[in-house]
């Protein structure tokens, strides 16, 4: 009985390819949408948190002005000085490292190649705050820092673009209008948060950059690494208090600088991404529902159409349960086919997108299973219920059905 019902079901599917295709299509699209959205959303959440923690552990970033983003502040207004950094280092308890930094986009030249990169003038503390390690060579010596020597440590991207396969440590690099000796190579970190290439940078002593590139004693940014994470809030308060004091800000005047906590940013951002994932998932769920309604429609119409066929089968001597089994198998085969095709399609889409965006591909079996079961349930219920109604009819009535 099972084999026969299976045979009959497959024959019917083959015979009505268009109808079967449309039924399957609804499921395919619904399942693919849900699985893709959720998989990509999960990947994005993980990517964002990973990359932000990659920026540096427990990193505080102090910038001039109030705004978080770029824009509003004129260059040079309320900038910091090396003395600010030193004061922070000495007076704030709980800071592991304090790195004053200036940064400029500069075209670099080596041999006959050139490459535009970001040149950062800073101290060795920059390596601590940014979680950097050296792949080769060494960091700056005290003498190099204090006298502003022309030495630099370059990132992996700069090395690749300018030197190819050669180890550049010891070579010279032309930075705008002066030559720099390469003394070290940063270990690669890969793409950073928001798609920036973290390896695309050159470090040099702060004094060198100030003298040769910016032409002032200003410091754009002060990066700080917190040693005691639980006290971050208190430390930020201390920093703000110290800076207000150093700038003689009156009680009623707002800070003209800001301190950001990367951990906080990470949490905010991944929270946002999670919300977006939820939203996309909801949209996708609607498409699954619409797909489900499509299935209902096709199944209902086709079973109504097929009432006569059911009558013929029963007149010929098919039992009610044989007819039902056939329809059930048809519905299950189509729904399962659609579910599997949807998941495969989603995998292909996720694979492509994650590869393109450098996101991790997180397989969530629960979501796959749920989407699959939902579509299968719709297919089976709406394929089976009308068939049951038809099979309960008297064969005569079913035969007369128009």
């Amino acid at each position: 009985m099972w084999i026969n019902a299976f045979l009959l079901a497959l024959r019917e599917i083959r015979r009505h390819l268009m109808r079967s295709f449309l039924t399957v299509l609804g499921i395919v699209i619904g399942v693919a949408a849900v699985v893709t959205m959720v998989t990509l959303g999960n990947g994005a959440t993980v990517m964002v948190s990973e990359r932000i923690s990659n920026l540096g552990s427990n990193l505080l970033v102090m910038r001039p002005g109030q705004r978080l983003g770029a824009g509003s502040e004129r260059a040079g207004s309320h900038t910091f000085t090396v003395q600010d950094a030193e004061a922070l280092q000495e007076q704030i308890f709980g800071l592991k490292a304090v790195a004053p930094a200036v940064s400029r986009p500069i075209t670099l030249v080596a041999d006959n190649k050139n490459w535009s990169s970001s040149v950062v003038g800073t101290t060795n503390d920059y390596l601590i705050t940014g979680n950097w390690t050296l792949a080769d060579g060494r960091a700056f010596s005290t003498d190099e820092l204090q006298s502003g020597r022309s030495v630099c440590v370059i990132g992996e991207t700069v090395r690749r673009e300018l030197f190819g396969a050669i180890n550049p440590v010891g070579d010279r690099l032309r930075v705008r209008n002066f030559d720099c000796q390469i003394i070290g190579l940063l270990a690669t970190k890969g793409q950073g948060g928001l798609g920036l290439d973290q390896d695309d940078r050159v470090l040099m002593p702060l004094l060198t950059a100030q003298r040769r590139l910016t032409g002032s004693n200003n410091v754009d940014t002060i990066l700080m690494s917190v040693s005691d994470v639980d006290n971050t809030r208190q430390i930020i308060d201390d920093i703000e208090g110290l800076m207000r004091e150093r700038r003689n800000l009156a009680q009623n005047v707002d800070n003209n600088f800001s301190v950001m906590d990367t951990r906080q940013i990470a949490e905010t951002l991944s929270g946002t991404v999670r919300t977006l994932t939820g939203l996309l998932g909801a949209v996708a769920a609607v498409s699954l529902l619409v797909g489900g309604i499509g299935i209902m429609n096709i199944m209902l119409v086709s079973v109504t159409e097929r009432t006569r066929e059911i009558g013929v089968r029963m007149a010929i001597g098919a039992l009610e349960r044989e007819v039902l089994l056939q329809f059930l198998i048809e519905a299950v085969v189509l729904s399962a086919l659609g579910g599997v095709a949807g998941i495969i399609l989603a995998f292909a889409a996720c694979y492509g997108v994650t590869a393109l965006m450098g996101m991790p591909f997180l397989f969530d079996p629960m979501v796959n299973l749920l989407a699959f079961l939902f579509s299968a349930a719709i297919g089976v219920i709406f394929g089976f219920a009308p068939a049951r109604r038809a099979a309960r009819l008297d064969p005569i009535d079913a035969l007369r059905h128009e």
Binding site: R11, G311, A315, G317
Partner: protein, 263 residues
């Protein structure tokens, strides 16, 4: 797959017992609706059909002939009375047992052919065998033979849409006889066909009746077609008014069937 043996009325099991007719209706009543709306489609019918007969059932619309046909075909069961098919009391059977009886003892031919669409002649004819659980090789062979016996050898792979009306009805007949049923029930088999196709189909039914001893019961409203039968049973107003014997093959007597209402 075999809850069937107990209900299977196999023909060769019973040697010729002239005492027992193949089909016997005793006081059969069929009522549709209930209470004040109740309507008697059949009002206590007695009818006997012997094995090997070719019987035509005639009568105006609403006379109960279709109801009688559905009862004879075990598609429906009587409200009152007895229906004995080769010793089996059909009125006592459940829905499922009647389905099994149809599967094993009856063949159907419908006015509208009722072939499965987009399905080849071969697969249509194989269908009853499939429900009987015959293996694929046997199905293929028997269906081929049945198609050949209705003159459709070589048309096995054509779907219904590729066949003419007459050919479709012949496929339907092949489907009806492929199981070697005791009784072939034909409900207006020529109703959708032109006259020359109708002659062909009637010739075919007659041949099957004579060479294979298949009992044929046919509903028709065309006297020309009824003339092919051994006997014409006329229904009027839920009752049998006449069971006229006629000599075989149109020699006589459509005219001899009188249509006087029973008083």
């Amino acid at each position: 797959m075999s809850p069937s043996p107990n209900t299977q009325p196999v023909a060769p099991k019973q040697p010729k017992q002239p005492a027992q007719p193949l089909i016997e209706l005793r006081g059969v009543t069929k009522t549709y609706g209930e209470g004040a709306m109740a309507f008697d489609a059949l009002k206590g019918i007695d009818l006997t059909i012997e094995a090997g007969e070719f019987v035509a059932i005639m009568g105006p619309s609403g006379s109960g002939k279709s109801t009688a046909m559905n009862l004879l075909g075990c598609l429906d069961s009587p409200t009152k009375g007895q229906y004995v098919l080769q010793g089996v009391h059909v009125e006592q059977l459940t829905r499922q047992q009647r389905a099994l009886l149809r599967r094993h003892a009856l063949g159907f031919v419908f006015q509208g052919f009722n072939l499965l669409s987009r399905t080849t002649a071969q697969e249509n004819v194989e269908l009853p065998l499939l429900y009987r659980g015959e293996p694929a090789a046997v199905r293929r062979e028997k269906a081929k033979q049945a198609l050949a016996s209705v003159g459709l050898a070589g048309w096995e792979t054509h779907t219904s849409a590729e066949l003419s009306g007459g050919q479709q009805q012949r496929v339907a007949i092949a489907r009806g006889i492929v199981t070697h049923p005791l009784v072939l029930l034909a409900d207006e088999p020529t109703g959708n066909l032109d006259s020359s196709r109708s002659q062909e189909i009637m010739g075919l039914l007659t041949t099957l009746n004579q060479t294979r001893q298949i009992t044929v019961i046919m509903v028709t409203h065309e006297p020309d077609m009824a003339a092919y039968a051994d006997r014409v049973i006329t229904f009027v107003d839920g009752q049998v008014i006449q069971a006229a014997e006629q000599s075989t093959l149109g020699s006589g007597g459509v005219g001899s069937v009188r249509r006087t209402p029973c008083g």
